[in-house]
Symmetry: D3
Subunit: 238 residues, 6 copies
């Protein structure tokens, strides 16, 4: 029995509220149950130094957690003067996941910066971030297309992410904090709308797992992502 | 004529939504027009080193702005590895303003940390932060009282803040970004519910001002704070 | 009775020793009683990136306190690896105060950097810094004029600063450390030679104050600045 | 055809030279072809703050790359003043992988710190690090057992890691730099001697992959780890 | 011919003004010609962690240069966020030089922190710092003795330092900036009042030197230090 | 009697293994007894900003010590976020020593970066670094000559370094850790193949020394460097 009473293959309710803020070219508040992340996509008409003059664009991401997004207050990374290893790991994953479905040549020599800021955390902040980020990116690109800045759509597929893990011996979908903190294994799966895999990160925590376990987690992830793709499409008006 | 069409002594609409997040002992989303700040109050059963064993409490504050809270994306302070002088100046002001109305002996040997994170900026983020912070603090203290952790209420008065400035030669109340960026003078006033002054910070920007100007700004501030005190009382259920 | 025996509206003795060091275009050792600050003005034939090519100049300031300027040794900011919030707040105030009386277009595309280093502290280091900085700036600009680099004087007015506060219920002028550390309210006032206000920063410390209190502090500040303007004029040979 | 002429399921030659340095309780120079990593295990009779007094131990890891371990010189992280996100990601993976096979209660209240420093890089530095680290850890624990500091062996299984990826459409084992830099997908697999999975991290790079692709990589990883387990056993004298 | 017209073995005029500031237990303004350093000695009734409970004291030093102590303004180390290698090298030398003549057991479990801040630089700032620091230390220890905190004098000898170098082929004493910037070799010599050597640091700059050259520099240093010892004795009232 | 049983003027065995790594233009593993340093020379076709366009080259050095190169593990500088004063002092000495024998005009507008990373420490890491660095530099320059990038050899002499000190009253050559940690005086001497002095750094540690002592250390250094020059010549194939 899961703490939340959910079935093993049951997602939390997903909500993607678009245009949550007014300045960003794309912005959403994405919720996976009590996990809430504000995601913005900012278009910048420049690229990082290593890409200058190459006629292609870039998509990158930054991630942060508000100090009291969590049960007990964590220290503010800006005050500590550095981002934790966990933060960097997550923001690298978000950027990589989005780049996997964007044709950088079609994007042209501009950069889209995704900011994922966790307002409230209850497990799965990185997967909610990726799932929301795709919508924010979609909205920002739609504006570029509408403005005539882009003639071809550089987004080739949708991308969503979900966590799955082994909780008390059972593979379960979309772990919340109560499950995540005691799970025997914990995986994050990034999938595309066409059913391809972008990234699998599955770690044993206190126990190891086997190939069958990995496949069961992956299959749960496919179930969850189906729901997310539907929510994304609706939010993006597609 | 103000860009927003407001009268010189007209505030933007104020909203203070309580319990915006679930983990913090006190939390509000405070809006002054398009400026939106998420404020949380976190109770910690410890005090900073310089107060240990002195039988009194502490209230402190941290401030941050999400990278795309603004018209163009600013860099993330956590990524840059330090808080700007502006950020530090603001968070010091917030902490000082709240401490002016709290009896630290009555609070007991515990600390309340206020986090003000700007979700969307349109001028006046520091005054919205202070005004919302008082409500978050009030809610957190109410929980301590309800739980029997406090026998006496350590909050002696309410506190609110508003910006006033001289825009195109006219003193105006509650500057938004369009006004703030070109104002000849810009002041932040922190007042208490009983009509006392906690802090005045009034800077010339490109032009100097005189005593009469200062007093006119202060009188506008009193008008604005009356509205804020009402919104605070309603939000705090007082 | 003030600890120093001074009358409530009595300044400490002011001294402004010019050309205290040999390399800087302008340099003074400014003393407000036992508070001593070495101020230098350095002319640089370049401007910060945000002003390049705009045909105007810039004045900025940095502030520091020698570790043993104070009663007990403080840690060295260079060794700690960062400037405190207090330091940044002060240096921003110094820069803003000077810029209020300089016509940046007349200064031309060059920068004047003011360095205020506190040799000995006894309260009022920021106001002594501003007051001395104007003289250092004046000397540096005079050299530019003498050298023919400037054809018009970009300095439009003089600027001075003084602290006033409420000590044991009485408004007093030019607080020294003994007063400052226990004052109920503490304000810094930056005024121009023509009687205009550049900046007011008045904070309650443990007690709040009212409009009448603010005005009494401002009037004391005018008295004090009169003395400072005289000392500045004499030092600057005007 | 692979650049090195290897068959798709062919590892590079593996060497694990023990006692490469004299001071560490365990030390090895591990080579996967031209990738060479110096790994040391240091026993410290203390634990991190969060574990104090809990009667259990800890295993953690740090990773670094010498500036000229690579084709062109990279900047020195100590000189830049921070570890990159990549470095932090890798050292977190190494620590997690080792902890998966250690019984912390049996280790007692002591910490073993693993240092992995890449002397020469040609792809696969993180997997060589994990594989070598297990031997260094084994040697250090053997010393603790020989000295009577441990009565039970806290190491429950061996652990090894290998990269696999899709190179020009073909799944291949143990990517070297020439392959790694252009692979369509790149995975790191951490397996135990008993055949269990500790961690899978498989990322698409420019192309996505499918479940069959993931399984083929995992199967290649099993082949490679068989070789590594043999080399580990021989090096550790088991 | 030296730029200053001095004879090869001629020092600049030395001045050591005691009690330059009021708070420090010992303070001097030391001048070697146009080089001026403010040195304070601060007594702290604690020792660094590595000495706690060992019944002995410590003497350490920090060094800084005001941004406009030099011909052109240098950046402020506190603002840059780190001390340069040069700064660290110098402050380590100052501390080592003083510790060579102090009996740490006699000092008791307390620390004396020397701060050397260069007000104006014209070559030889580190040697002026060491020479002045001994006087500041002497004054601070005299106060401890006078107060009865010390029963035995922990200072066993005086210590002074001077630079010598090879300028246009000729060994010269006490290099000023004009010489220092083009000298073929540059040495700093730290000697004791009893004629012993504490430290020799002699570097070729563009040319190498030989044993005879080293000895000639050392002999010049003895000449210079004789003057400094006399100035120190007079300043310290000995 | 020395702890190692060596005669006072006896070096430890020296080994210089060339081409220890494959990527660097020059690389050696240099051993002075148990002290082992990996040194690489990297050629970069650019110069630091202060030399751009001046038609001359630069040689610089960085130094690091692996955390467990020492008896007990030291913290990793990259993780702490800064290089220690000792590290900076050493890397500045290495760079200066090499530059003393290189004609920068002949090197052309390129930079050679020397990295010295201590694999295992037993005293004398900086002198082993300098001695090995010359060989790495020699190998890198030989490649530039062989490739036709240089027409004249910019290396004018060889350079080697050795430590000497006073151990239990006796001057001894090439201190190992057991001697170094208790020596009364400790000097590092950098000499050229033609018998010239590049740098002398001789510090008293707990005792002072005299001119005769300095000369005896210098003479021992000459003996030691003779051995090192022979090892360098052999390693460099000269």
């Amino acid at each position: 029995m899961r703490p939340s009473g959910r079935a093993p293959d049951q997602m939390r309710s997903i909500a993607i509220e678009t245009n949550f803020t007014i300045h960003a070219e794309g912005s959403v508040l994405v919720s996976f149950g009590n996990t809430k992340v504000l995601v913005t996509a900012s278009v910048e008409e420049k690229v990082p130094p290593f890409l200058r003059g190459k006629g292609q664009g870039w998509v990158t991401a930054e991630y942060g957690m508000l100090p009291r997004a969590t049960h007990t207050r964590g220290s503010r990374e800006a005050a500590k003067g550095k981002q934790s290893g966990r933060t960097q790991e997550i923001q690298r994953l978000i950027g990589r996941s989005l780049r996997a479905v964007v044709d950088m040549a079609k994007l042209g020599e501009r950069q889209i910066v995704i900011d994922c800021d966790v307002i409230q955390a209850d497990g799965g902040t990185r997967t909610a971030s990726i799932s929301g980020a795709w919508v924010a990116l979609r909205l920002a690109v739609d504006k570029l297309i509408a403005a005539g800045s882009l003639t071809e759509d550089p987004i080739e597929d949708s991308v969503a992410a979900i966590s799955c893990g082994i909780y008390q011996g059972t593979p379960v979908l979309d772990l919340d904090y109560d499950e995540d903190s005691v799970a025997e294994a914990d995986g994050n799966f990034v999938l595309t709308g066409k059913g391809r895999i972008v990234e699998v990160q599955a770690s044993a925590e206190g126990a190891t797992y086997d190939e069958e376990g990995l496949l069961r987690l992956l299959r749960l992830a496919r179930i969850g992502c189906t729901d997310i793709f539907a929510a994304q499409a609706k939010a993006a008006g597609r």
